[in-house]
Symmetry: C3
Subunit: 322 residues, 3 copies
């Protein structure tokens, strides 16, 4: 929200966002249509429930986990919603065009919106590193560039390397973490400002941060199994392993954080992402692991590394990607 | 919470609520029974999930959206729950009697509770305008009168004009907004008091307001498709269009709010309802719209009007109905 | 977090938690395997949804209801998650061993995790009485002892008295309340300290408390019907009766609390659990009650007793068990 732009110019920046939205509507008008094939109502509702779970993770989880990290608490939540709503529209179009590689009409299904929401998540992970330092138009640019880069990367992978949609998607954490670090690097501020901010973390914003963490923790098994709808056994495995990895990384992260503190207290900045590290660690392989202990070992390792990393990394909320 | 009643009398006001609750139990004893027909377990769970979504919207969404608007933060949430619990009991009875127009036994199904929760929503929309100005008995009276008026209106519509339950229900926003304005008018306070209140909005109550907004945003597609259980295609359309209208109205509202502020910041009072305006705008017609761009245009228009309206209307949280 | 341990020793206490976690992984390695039988995908998702509902109740509901009661607001939420993650792992093992009474491999199903989460709830109910007075290792000990006691009690009941899993589980409230009182008794502090704490309840922590209460209120019908998956009719009855009992106890609790206050205001400490008392009251019998009025009478009675009890009991959040 810097003062680098003259006031008159800054006033008109959000206008570009509206112009973009109108442009999106025009593209939707010419190039999209709803899927009109009649569908099994049970399967429709099943897809809707998974979409709902992913939306809860993204809108509530990432919204509130970021709210505790920066001064601009509540506007983080609003910007998070803004980025989600915009990125989903763009990702639906992009997925459609890249799927068929021709400018035919894109047929929108409920599962397209589900996939688009998962792509949009990459923007929201990265946004955690830059919220409070950027204006609306910079955020919009970041959203468009990042979704495009992530979707093109997934398309290339699908074509030449790994066919599996699920595995491609699970690179999201690494991709978003590096992208976010890169963007944050170009918007970095002097150190003393950042230190001052940290002192302003109040009790109630910590609780909001925990609220976000819990939403992510609860709905992570849905996320990790969201693209495995075809095989019930793979899906069951994905749920089981994600659950166990998360449970162990929660126990590990809270123990290690308490161990590192002289009075045995917990540092919230350590555990926010360390609690979730288990879910990230089993992400790509969760449908293949066949015993609980393997998922638990991964959760333990991820929890240890992530809590350790949070002690030294400048952007602890990006540690989730490593 | 005025001082217009003598202390001794005010002490006994809540007693009337208990008497009313006992009266409701007696009516339930004589006039209701559960639906005992054996049912498809899959359909039962489906109805339960929709009921749960609507309850989350009403209890968490409206509870917390109102909490940020008035001084009586947490008691707004409690009064919201109180009104919901009472209005649902009354609406189940009323729906049953008006359906059959005879004092036979009312058979209660899970779908009756779903319908009653949606009727009760009218009370909670209106309550936003009067919370903090009324005592418990005045709220109870408002709940009973409003649910009765809304249910009778729907019954007359169903009988003489529009058969469709879904379309009747979607008039709820307009009805509740006008009813709320009317009630608020009769409880209005001097202006300077209201201005003082506004200054007390703190960062953490803004975050609670955003929490309520997000719950409404996420579960609105469930609400708009809740009465379209019979036709999977209409249901799918309703979900799609509500989703797109909400996405566009979120982008629009946040952009316009940022445009109106000299430093490009967002005013939370603008966006609370403007974000949701898209869902209201496509409410009645969502199952008929066949292309995404039409829902997006409605979302854009609703977002523009609603954010504009929030700048001048005295009760911005009622703007959702227009 | 007392100063009774020397600093050097206290540093190493959380290490024991890590050792325990590693030991659990070793036990899982030798004695468990996932259920590999192919399953009906619809039934799998149904179980997953119920597990999700119970996890939301336990992680968000109990997490935030406790956050408003003690000084250590946000760390309550973190400790709650910690206890949940640990107790579920232990309960899955214990349920498996006690089921077969032999050290064969335990087969883990999604429904085992559901059952384990419900057992873990006993720890979280009791934890409300001791959070902020105990260190991590004391909490871990409490979790292990309480889950073991509760599971053995349920096993004995299942073997010699009541076969029904549902009824056994519903003794959880009484069990956890007495267990919590017992533990709290041994950690009691001088009275004047406790009085000081109470004054520190701020508006925003009250809102977090209401958030927890609402999550419990909304998902309680899922909890009461979670073990009745075989009979759709019993399940429907359980949902209906829990819903009506909760609705009436919410109305009653808020009315009585308002009646007890000279200006008709509501005391949050009264209503937190009184609102939920209806759900506890119909817990064991909810699938047998065949008319709404009976559930409503139970809800009214429970609401009256619970609000009354909150006026004199030292641990109002345990009143839910009576």
């Amino acid at each position: 929200m810097g003062s680098k732009y003259p006031r008159s110019m800054q006033c008109f920046l959000p206008l570009w966002t509206l112009v973009l939205e109108v442009a999106l509507i025009v593209i939707f008008f010419f190039f999209t249509s709803y899927d009109t094939s009649s569908q099994d109502p049970k399967k429709l509702m099943e897809t809707y429930r998974v979409l709902q779970d992913v939306t809860i993770m993204v809108a509530l989880g990432f919204g509130f986990i970021n709210s505790s990290l920066r001064r601009y608490g509540w506007s983080s939540v609003a910007f998070n919603l803004f980025l989600l709503a915009l990125a989903v529209q763009w990702a639906v179009l992009l997925d459609g065009f890249l799927e068929q590689l021709s400018p035919k009409k894109v047929v929108i299904k409920l599962s397209s919106i589900k996939l688009a929401t998962m792509s949009a998540m990459s923007v929201l992970i990265s946004a955690g590193a830059v919220l409070g330092k950027t204006n609306l138009v910079q955020l919009v640019l970041m959203a468009l560039v990042e979704v495009t880069a992530f979707d093109v990367m997934r398309m290339i992978q699908r074509k030449y390397f790994i066919k599996d949609n699920h595995v491609n998607m699970m690179h999201i954490h690494v991709f978003a973490a590096y992208f976010g670090l890169m963007v944050a690097w170009s918007f970095r501020r002097p150190l003393h400002e950042r230190v001052m901010e940290k002192d302003q973390t109040s009790k109630s914003s910590s609780l909001f941060g925990m609220l976000g963490t819990l939403f992510l923790w609860i709905f992570w098994p849905s996320f990790n199994s969201a693209l495995l709808l075809d095989s019930p056994n793979e899906r069951k495995n994905a749920m089981f392993n994600t659950y166990y990895a998360l449970a162990v990384s929660a126990v590990t992260a809270i123990s290690v954080s308490s161990l590192a503190h002289p009075q045995g207290k917990i540092n919230m900045n350590h555990i926010h992402n360390a609690v979730l590290a288990g879910g990230v660690a089993v992400g790509a392989s969760c449908y293949l692991i066949s015993s609980p202990w393997l998922a638990m070992v991964l959760g333990l390792t991820a929890g240890l590394i992530s809590t350790g990393g949070a002690l030294c990394l400048p952007f602890p909320h990006l540690a989730v990607g490593f």
